[in-house]
Symmetry: C2
Subunit: 392 residues, 2 copies
Amino acid sequence: MKIESVDLFYLSMPVVTTEADGSQDALLVRVRAGGHTGWGECEAAPLPSIAAFVCPMSHGACRPVADSVLGQTIDGPDDIARIARQVEYDSMDLLQAPHTWSGIEMALWDLLGHARQAPVWRLLGYTASHKKRPYASMLFGDTPEDTLRQGQSARAAGYGAAKFGWGPIGRGSAAIDADHFAAAREGIGPDMLLMVDTGQIWGEDVEAAALRIPALEAARATWLEEPFHTHALAQYGALAQRSPRVPLAGGEGAFNVAMAEHLIDYGRVGFIQIDTGRIGGIGPSKRVADHAVAKGITFVNHTFTSHLALSASMQAFAGLADHRICEYPFQPKQLAIDFVANPLARDAHGEVAAPDAPGLGVAVDPAGIRRYLVETEITVGGRILYRTPAID
Amino acid sequence: MKIESVDLFYLSMPVVTTEADGSQDALLVRVRAGGHTGWGECEAAPLPSIAAFVCPMSHGACRPVADSVLGQTIDGPDDIARIARQVEYDSMDLLQAPHTWSGIEMALWDLLGHARQAPVWRLLGYTASHKKRPYASMLFGDTPEDTLRQGQSARAAGYGAAKFGWGPIGRGSAAIDADHFAAAREGIGPDMLLMVDTGQIWGEDVEAAALRIPALEAARATWLEEPFHTHALAQYGALAQRSPRVPLAGGEGAFNVAMAEHLIDYGRVGFIQIDTGRIGGIGPSKRVADHAVAKGITFVNHTFTSHLALSASMQAFAGLADHRICEYPFQPKQLAIDFVANPLARDAHGEVAAPDAPGLGVAVDPAGIRRYLVETEITVGGRILYRTPAID
């Protein structure tokens, strides 16, 4: 099959706020080849990602992503890996390229799965899609009382685990943060898993992060996520040594396999969290999962958008029975709900698995896309390089 | 002073080819505040970088660069550092943001230098701008004979050092590469410094790179540059151990200080090469120079575009008398020549220094910009977010 078209769709809620909620907009990718269609989703700023697909070439190592994709042969997983290498090399100086490519890569796997009538996890070599324990992913409240109520809502919704992120943590004293950690534990009760995500708030300040460890231990946190910025490997490593009972988690910012491996090897995280919509798609995610297995740490997906992204992000560790935790969008914006016709429902035990269906097993609803579509046009030197494509 | 405007200008040669020559297009930045003007240059794909400046916000950690810059106070270097931190945090999920910000940061230093009537290197705390030994930066020929002639031309032009890059190296056998290395040495003669840049051609393949070390030793190469991709820290470290006489060089892909520090600390490079137009500008470049001094390795600029970028990239190590080598665009495209009114000329000894003049000491020629300006327009949801600004 030849890749005939790659179409990018920019969706947005009518109002986008500063809350750390990645489901407020979306960049969907539709790929067509050999009479088949595949869908993917970039976890990325839509406009710069579109620009990275259509921009004029700057030089041989700064080419638009489109040049490495359109017209290529796609008959099997090796073709996807080959195209990925070409994107990596020919767009090495185009920083945004991996975010753009991630959604395309997913769509190519989806397309290949439809062509072969096989789920993607089977194309990756797995023989089963194991159930995962989803955690409700939500933001800390403005006050400990709000955080407590958030925890109660996750518990009432039947989750076995909950993650609290961002909000006021790290912006005031360690004592205030401790109140939030305790409130989160009180809200979810004694039996649920509790994760804490601090959204890079301490930058490179190991001491500030270390101050919070006792309260996290007292709240029996399963992990402390993203204390530092994505590239702060030495700081991750230093804090990991000082926190023997609360492992670190991170990796969502990784946009290639090496970055994730460094967080494991140098940063000593106990949980590596991969966003398939950023790291270059499903193939690189699987390579990180293999590395996690080899190093005896746990792979977790990072997903804060739609169930299309959720299915894509679950493929890489679907076959790993012991890697049980799964991020599950708990309160996404309506946009992320409306364009997915068949979300990944939790079963009677509250568990979820990558679908046993061709491709990613997620049907896209054109009406849901149309509702949030943002008309976009880019003209360079008198030529229209991009115009929102038709959805049908 | 308040930052009143940030204008981005996309320049391009009429024809852009696949050669690895970054001077075929340019993204210039003009900043205005308090009646002063500053200029900078991103070493980046213009269209995605413009998009990263103007795009709608996706969420609180994925905001356009413009939101962190416009209207800010700029009275001293601390303000530049403060704005840099805000860009880093508020645009953490916008991958292209550091490339966009780099040119703006340069322009802010230029503006500050004009306001204070001081060169930027003095604002950085240096008391002198030491002469550097520029190397002619050029590409390997298609054949060893072409490479030899390239070397002869660099020698005839009076350079004391030459760097050969890309071309056929790594695409054929080690024996062919050895012929090129020997031809380069023969072309430049016995006394000039010889550097070799292999443009990431071996990806992560340490064995393939190690095969070339004996021929590099025989040609008395000063360094082997970019054997692997930017994030291949473990591979850099492994090759460095196997190449005691030819140190490694790298770092041009670093878009933050941590990445450069990792190449030094984990990758064990002997020369850290920083592109000020990518790493976030002059402030981060200076931090890397400080780290290089502390670790006893050598700082070198990476510059393959204009003399505006050259001056900006020389500021960070202008005051380091012992860090003598300087990349100097040898055969840039006419575009990069035409918009700079006063290039950094080599003196009678063939040496060059960051100008002892206010700001970056480089005057921009509006007529030279106009000649290559690419009219660009971006419309999202019926609103024009970007239209090529007027140049006057």
